[in-house]
């Protein structure tokens, strides 16, 4: 029986012969069920209709879409909350909570059958049922990921979960935000059973029968209505331990986890109505705050990136540039970057050809690739069976002729122009006419390398970052003659490797290095003024960067940074100079972590995970040779000096049309530089500060040179009172 008169209802209700009703959701036109306004309206109507009809024996709540219970609330709705007052948001939360509460206030028991993704509001809906059954299917996952958007569940989820599984586990689950599978959900007590998908309905009906027999739903409702206050010593312990963990993980920059802790602990001791009110109040406070606004925006940027074909106007694909699906990828060069790119292919199910002229490099590279691709994080070693299976998908050759059947070749040989040009010409000789050729380079202009090829239209840059397994950004670099089809293919392929591709125009340093270098450079300038290196890094971390600039230098390698710096110096020497300190360090053998010493000394036995032990006294001696006059520098000024030059460079990038959309800059700095997501990216941060404030902060720094001077766009935005990013377009 249709629940509502509307043709397009997202809810259908079916009566089974034993009087059990099955209420299922299907949101049309979506790959995943999401809780839209229509879903809430239809659910209310369906419950009204059930109330008017003969009382059912029980209610099964499920999804009509395979593999998707509910992926959560519609994020577009969250974005729309931006202009809503906290009071109105609280009322919206209370309305949703009230609607869900009808499920466990009825005279009959209800069971949610969870097959597929069940996240956020979807899990809150399931929690509102008396019982839950999850399926053992691999696609079944249950989670409350709201914390990743700077929020907490707002439809009673924290209240119900704490009462169901205990406040401590509820805090861990909600503040962690990571989903679990059906079996883990059962162990946590979130679901009452976990069965194969085809047995879910019969299990739900049996559960209804045995609960009716024992009045189990009545007992559970009584239990869930009561507070679950912890013993005082348990509460104090939980609060102290979790607060410390949260502070360690968030650096105090993300308010949601601590709010979740406070809200759940307070709600656990309150009655249902008061606990719900506390949750709504917390949701309203978080959702109207800056951090959540930025995190929701960054989430939407990611969604937009996944839709963006990389050519055309940004949101619409241009009709003549269809991405050719890559089936036979190949990588040339088995060094660190080539191996990382190759491993990423294996992990994503590709069979791959790997060519390196040096047999020894090839052998070493292949072993490393298999180990990385077969890495079992839980066991902390490569899974031998998986490694063996993957070995069959990795074909290695010293001769370029092995590339003949490839439809995409990613060249990743030594970062030297002559070597790269020779390799590219060789590749073009053996591949077919439609093969896309990409170069992984950080410093070589695409235009220059393209002249080594007879058909430059099929050629582009695909700049991966080190380490490839962790760094999600790929700069897809468009040379002057690169075709739309080539770009579309490279972009689509990067996405199949779970990367975030950003298309940039060919220019020195492309996008990321150009924005990174001013930040790195300024740290060395301050060192020369006599500032303590650890203080510089601490201030950068306090801003939210994952590491300070001097630690980052050591991570990148001083030699690598030196060459990258030379390219930018050559192009933008008026403001991105190459510092004399870097070659001095290189000459003294301090190349960074890889040699055990850079700006800091490292314990070599601890490998890549070594913490910077202490500043190297020798470095301070080297720096002293290039000392600059000391300046009065507060922590605020220090942070401004590191980051405002990045803002200025970003405005130049915008003006030069290096990116197709300013939002790509924010996405790139978050993915590649670890720019704090809670600030929304470098331009979003600039907009938060406001152009006028940036001008005020730059003024006392003007004597440092062009690198601190306002750009035309900054002055224009300040004058016009506008923004760097027009939010209307996002």
């Amino acid at each position: 029986m249709p629940a509502t008169g509307r043709e397009s209802s997202t809810v259908t209700v079916e009566r089974l012969e034993d009087g059990v009703l099955v209420l299922s959701f299907l949101v049309p036109g979506r790959r995943q069920n999401v809780i839209t306004e229509a879903v809430l309206v239809d659910l209310a109507a369906a419950l009204d209709a059930i109330d008017r009809g003969p009382p059912p024996r029980g209610l099964v709540v499920c999804s009509g879409l395979k593999g998707s219970f509910f992926a959560g609330a519609d994020v577009a709705r969250l974005e729309a909350l931006a202009g809503t007052s906290p009071g109105d948001i609280e009322r919206l939360c209370a309305a949703g909570r009230g609607l869900f509460a009808r499920l466990s206030a009825a005279a009959w028991p209800s069971v949610a059958v969870i097959d597929g993704v069940c996240l956020g509001g979807g899990l809150e809906l399931a929690l509102a049922c008396d019982f839950r059954i999850a399926t053992t299917a691999a696609h079944t996952s249950l989670g409350l990921p709201e914390v990743k958007l700077g929020l907490l569940p707002g439809w009673g989820g924290t209240v119900r979960l704490a009462r169901l599984i205990g406040p401590g586990p509820a805090v861990e689950f909600t503040a962690g935000g990571e989903p679990v599978d059906g079996r883990a959900a059962q162990l946590l007590g979130i679901v009452d059973g976990c069965v194969p998908a085809e047995e879910a309905l019969v299990s739900a009906r049996r559960l209804i029968e045995c609960q009716i027999a024992q009045a189990g739903h009545v007992a559970r409702r009584k239990r869930l209505a009561a507070p679950v206050g912890l013993a005082p010593e348990e509460r104090a312990f939980l609060e102290a331990v979790v607060s410390t963990v949260i502070l360690g993980r968030t650096g105090g920059h993300y308010p949601a986890p601590a709010t979740i802790l406070r809200t759940i602990l307070a709600g656990a001791e309150a009655d249902l109505a008061e606990a719900g009110r506390l949750e709504s109040e917390a949701f309203a406070a978080l959702s109207t705050g800056d951090v959540s606004r930025q995190l929701v925006r960054v989430f939407r940027l990611g969604e937009r990136n996944r839709r963006d074909p990389g050519v055309g106007g940004g949101d619409a694909p241009s009709p003549d540039a269809e991405a050719a699906p890559v089936e036979h990828p190949a990588v040339v060069g088995a060094g660190i970057m080539g191996a990382g790119i190759a491993a990423s292919h294996l992990r994503h199910g590709f069979a791959l050809t790997l060519v390196d002229v040096n047999a020894e490099t090839l052998e070493r590279g292949a072993a490393g690739i298999l180990e990385e691709a077969a890495w079992d994080r839980a066991a902390r070693r490569a899974d031998p069976a998986r490694s063996l299976a993957l070995a069959g998908r990795l074909r290695t050759a010293v001769d370029a002729s092995a590339l003949a059947g490839a439809d995409l070749v990613i060249e990743s040989v030594l970062e030297r122009t002559d070597v790269k040009r020779r390799a590219l010409a060789e590749i073009e000789r053996v591949v077919g006419p439609d093969t896309v050729i990409a170069t992984n380079t950080s410093t070589n202009p695409i235009a220059n390398l393209a002249t080594a090829l007879t058909n430059p239209a099929r050629f582009c840059g695909m700049h991966f970052f080190n380490p490839v397994r962790r760094m999600t950004l790929v700069e897809v670099v468009r040379g002057p003659e690169t075709s739309d089809a080539t770009i579309a293919t490279a972009v689509a392929h990067a996405k199949r490797l779970s990367k975030c591709p950003v298309v940039v125009r060919d220019s020195p340093g492309f996008l990321v290095n150009r924005l990174l270098m001013p930040y790195l450079h300024e740290s060395v300038e301050m060192l020369r003024e006599g500032l303590d290196p650890q203080r510089i890094d601490r201030v950068a971390r306090a801003f939210g960067m994952p590491m300070g600039p001097l630690e980052l230098y050591d991570m990148i390698g001083l030699d690598t940074a030196f060459y990258a710096g030379l390219v930018l110096d050559g192009a933008f020497g008026d403001r991105i100079e190459s510092s004399p300190v870097i070659p001095a360090l290189v000459k003294s053998g301090r190349l960074g972590r890889k040699t055990g010493a850079g700006f800091y000394v490292y314990d070599e036995s601890a490998g890549q995970r070594a913490k910077p032990a202490r500043p190297d006294a020798g470095v301070l001696g080297l720096v002293a040779a290039y000392a600059l006059p000391a300046r009065e520098t507060t922590d605020r000024t220090l942070a401004d000096r590191l980051l405002l030059p990045v803002v200025l460079e970003a405005t130049r990038v915008l003006d030069e049309g290096i990116v197709r959309d300013g939002r790509d800059i924010d996405l790139a700095v978050i993915h590649a530089l670890g720019f704090p997501a809670f600030r929304g990216g470098v331009l979003a941060w600039a907009d938060t500060l406001g152009a006028a404030e940036i001008l005020r902060r730059l003024e006392p720094l003007a004597d440092l040179g062009v690198r601190m001077h306002p750009t035309r766009r900054l002055l224009d935005v300040a004058r016009g009172g506008g923004r760097f990013l027009s939010e209307a377009s996002s």
Binding site: I133, L187, G193, C194, V195, P196, E199, R206, C210
Partner: protein, 395 residues
Amino acid sequence: MKAAPRTPDTNPVVVACCRTAIGRAHADRGLFRHVRGDELAAAVLTAAVDLSGVDPATIDDVILGATQQRGEQGGNVARTAALLAGLPFSVAGATVNRLCGSGLEALARAAQAIVAQEERVLIAGGVEHMLHLPMDSAIDIHPRALARSSRGMLSMGLTAEQLAAEHRIPRRAQESYALESHRRAAAAADAGLFDDEIVAVLGHDESGALVEATRDQSIRGDTSLEAMAALEPVFLPRLGTVTAATSAPVSDGAAALVVMQETEARRQGLVPLARIVASAVAGVAPAAMGTGPVAATRKLLARTGLTAADIDLVELNEAFAAQAIHCIDALGLDAARVNVRGGSLAIGHPLGASGARIATTLLHALVADGKRLGLAAMCIGLGQGIAVLFERIES
């Protein structure tokens, strides 16, 4: 009776007892293949408290038997199960191991604490999930511990073969015994005689759907001597007499009994089912582990001044048919009074839980049949026996 007279202050009484259905330890078909051992233990703790009506705040200790104390039964499962069951923090917990005798061991310890006038309210029981924690895994017996015995004694089945050979118990007699065990168990189950002792736990049926587990999974009312005769000997291929049909099935389950000082039970207005009269443990040669109940029972009878004829009902754990037959003969028991509701050959033998399981079944049978004295006895690997004597209290 010779035992020292007890007063209500030193008299340990059982006020309630229950168990889960016993599931087959089968990876694809076991009722509890997706339920953990600690969950089974928590289920019987919760149910025992509910059934008895005892004030949870007055419980001093939980003592559970478990032979594999690791993984989901590790970290002191008596304590973790008590936490899982929501018992107050003030309830202590200890896990004990006397291998197959662990469940009775827990019960005897609880009784002793009351007799000694230390604790007053305890839950005793046991748990074993033999599918998740196989009986022979993670065990490393010192080779020199075999100096006075032999490696073969580590195989319980071989010790049963030895008993059968030594006491001339033919395969057919073992099978007839096992058939009777299934017949009695099936009849008891069909008549609902286990309904009061079995606590329903959600398990999974063979297709994986949720199902309330209320019937012991290994009982086969439809088995026959012909079917049994077709089986191969398990422990001594071709030559042996002991088969899967005449060995207790590996099983998953839990059981618990609320044991209290009689004075405290009366104070809380609870009705005692029976008192624990005495208990005894005994060691025997490891290779003759199946005779353990004989030694333990004789000790207990001597202690209490009773004879086998005085005992109304006996629950003798059936590790193997040969072993049970021998004990009945050696003790001169009346087979009609032994395992009146079938034994572990049919019901299953979740090692650490079985002692509490047979005590639970015994107490329900004493009450239902209006009998007075009941004996629970078990054989124990590496050569031991344990016996506990109950006297029903007329309410």
